[in-house]
Symmetry: C2
């Protein structure tokens, strides 16, 4: 089943990856179509033919980021045979290793896009939902631990999840500011130092 018409002269996925990294670095508003064309190695009609619009390209870039850069980290969370504590520690330590990587923009794209940039509120929702998803995943892992008897069901699991997601978000901000892997690993260990207290007999909030 061959394709009709003139074949595309560039690798769509490679171009999307280049666009993703540019949006990741500069944010939505500060990135122009001309910037994108230069980074992707194509001209604007090709960009519009392949991706539709700047907004649509950004939405695809977020999906590309989640699938190719974010998902591997989350894999650490749901591995079987590990306690919730170990899973979350692994997730934070893996993040500490990759957030300051020099072969890509620092920090988490979804977290750091939390900020400022206006965005058509459709894109803004996409990002808010992405961050809410992080919270849901951690909470789900804690719920599973409660169901399996590792944690007490009377704990404020949502609050604990929010705390660890918050630490992860802080790690992203500091990675963007130049924190090293060792710096971020120390943050991860510090957060884990609260685990016993948070999951102990103490009631969540007073």
């Amino acid at each position: 089943m061959a394709e009709r018409g003139r074949p595309r002269g560039f690798d769509r996925d490679a171009a999307l990856d280049a666009a993703t990294k540019l949006f990741w670095c500069k944010g939505y508003s500060a990135t122009s179509i001309a910037d994108l064309c230069a980074a992707m190695g194509i001209v604007s009609p090709s960009l519009y033919a392949a991706f539709g619009s700047k907004e649509a390209l950004y939405a695809e870039a977020i999906g590309h980021y989640v699938k190719n850069y974010d998902a591997p980290i989350w894999g650490r969370l749901d591995a079987t045979g590990k306690s919730a504590r170990t899973s979350i520690e692994d997730w934070l330590m893996a993040s500490a290793a990759i957030l300051p990587a020099t072969d890509r923009p620092g920090g988490c794209m979804v977290t750091l896009s939390a900020v400022g940039d206006d965005k058509t509120s459709e894109l803004c929702d996409l990002l808010v939902q992405g961050r809410a998803e992080s919270l849901r995943r951690i909470e789900a892992r804690l719920d599973r631990a409660a169901a399996e008897g590792e944690l007490s069901a009377t704990l404020d699991l949502k609050g604990i999840a929010r705390f660890y997601v918050g630490v992860h978000q802080g790690m992203s901000v500091q990675a963007r500011d130049g924190a090293t892997r060792a710096d971020l690993e120390a943050m991860a260990r510090s957060a884990m130092a609260a685990w016993d207290s948070l999951t102990g007999t103490k009631v969540s909030s007073s």
Copy 2:
């Protein structure tokens, strides 16, 4: 000592406050001069006469934010007669109370501007320095505690400071996403749950 020429027809500080809130909400790149003029209630020649340029106005807005919105929170940190632990807890709890305030944009302007937005690297530096200053303040408070004998001098005080600043940054991101005061207070308490472990006999790293 009266002023020569026609007097300015608007309150410069009130206009700066309006500009600050707009930049705080939308970020630098997504905020246009037209947006600013509308929010400040002036026309563009008045804006340029009073503030010079968009970049200069943004730099002044950051200063206005730090002085009028951020400083009150930091006052909690250096109050006398309190332990470092209580000071940091107060700082986090005060932040939890004010970050989700509905009479202003959510989250910390300096933290949330960490992101994306290109900025002439001069403005970017301004923000990076602002965030570095937060780290320095917390670290200075811990150093003082070590000098006063509250904490052991062998601890990784910089790492502890980085952890609490990171939690604060995570609180800003979540405040922007709609977290409530109670949500943020729970995060603050969770972070404080690590205090004993972080400041105990345990060696900082490895």
